[in-house]
């Protein structure tokens, strides 16, 4: 039976985490919560993204970005973190690479810091609690901008 002809694959769509040539977008996750890191990682890898690094604070995030550069396409950046907060880390990443694509991950009630981040060059932001749709929408949009 020629199943492929009988049943056209109407449900097939390319995963959102890959380029047209099939290579994955590479993401660095910076967050001090193991739970949030895992949650973002699961959502992104299920769509074909490649999580190339994780960091637990802003300082480590900045270091990892420099190490990975230019083989990193996007950063998700928590705002409240020990050692160096996400807004400062964003600022330093943009100083290092003005084309860096950074998406801020924020708790509710941090509008001022989110605004500051967007002015500093963050591409977008996601307010927790995170869900799949929200994360993918904002990440994909930031990669296209």
């Amino acid at each position: 039976m020629k199943t492929k002809v009988d049943f056209p694959t109407i449900n097939e769509r390319p995963p959102e985490g890959t380029r047209p040539d099939g290579s994955p977008f590479r993401v660095l996750i910076v967050d001090d919560s193991m739970f949030v890191t895992k949650q973002i990682g699961q959502i992104l890898t299920s769509e074909g993204f490649d999580v190339v690094g994780t960091a637990g604070d802003g300082e480590e995030g900045l270091e990892k970005y420099k190490q990975l550069f230019p083989n990193v396409d996007l950063v998700t950046m928590d705002i409240t973190m020990p050692k160096m907060d996400g807004v400062t880390a964003l600022e330093k990443i943009i100083q290092f690479d003005k084309n860096a694509k950074v998406v801020m991950i924020s708790a509710l009630g941090k509008q001022d810091l989110v605004k500051k981040s967007l002015l500093l060059g963050a591409k977008n932001y996601i307010v927790k609690p995170l869900d799949r749709k929200k994360v993918l929408e904002r990440v994909v949009h930031s990669l296209q901008s």
């Binding site: 193991m34 739970f35 895992k38 509710l108």
Partner: protein, 154 residues
């Protein structure tokens, strides 16, 4: 204690728990406790300081904590490990952030400490000169008590 401080925590806990757990949440009856109160086994504590001061405690049994962490991670966790701890801390973070946003909108000005998680058996919490109001939240995963002890800075 003024009820204005409590309602935002009740609403935020209800909203966040419903959203992240995907199960039905029922609000139990509020009650006041002025003396020492026992803690169920796992408690996330957040401090408030500013025009109002005090603390909020998210209190649950270890079994409930593991069930909630499992639901939020969409995988069955066997013990109260680092991932489970990070998950409950994040839950406390999300509820507090939502409650505080409402309180700030109502004009109260104060800062928060990051949540600290304490766990163990036979624990008690004592609040000097502040009565604690307890809001039970019931679900099929177990009960969480939101224990709020705040006052205006005199």
């Amino acid at each position: 204690m003024r009820v204005e401080y409590i309602n935002p925590f009740v609403e935020a806990a209800y909203n966040v728990l419903s959203e992240v757990l995907g199960v039905e949440i029922k609000r139990g009856n509020l009650y006041l406790k002025s003396a020492t109160k026992s803690v169920m086994g796992v408690a996330a504590i957040v401090g408030l300081a500013g025009e109002v001061e005090g603390r909020v405690l998210f209190d649950m049994s270890k079994v409930t904590a593991i069930k909630i962490a499992s639901a939020m991670n969409m995988e069955e966790l066997k013990e109260f490990d680092d991932l489970a701890k990070a998950t409950i801390t994040e839950l406390a973070n999300m509820i507090t952030a939502q409650a505080v946003t409402k309180l700030h909108d109502l004009g109260f000005r104060f800062d928060l400490t990051p949540p600290a998680l304490i766990s163990g058996d036979n624990m008690e919490v004592s609040d000097q000169e502040v009565e604690a109001l307890i809001v039970p939240m019931e679900s099929e995963l177990g009960n969480i008590e939101i224990n709020v002890a705040v006052r205006e800075r005199g």
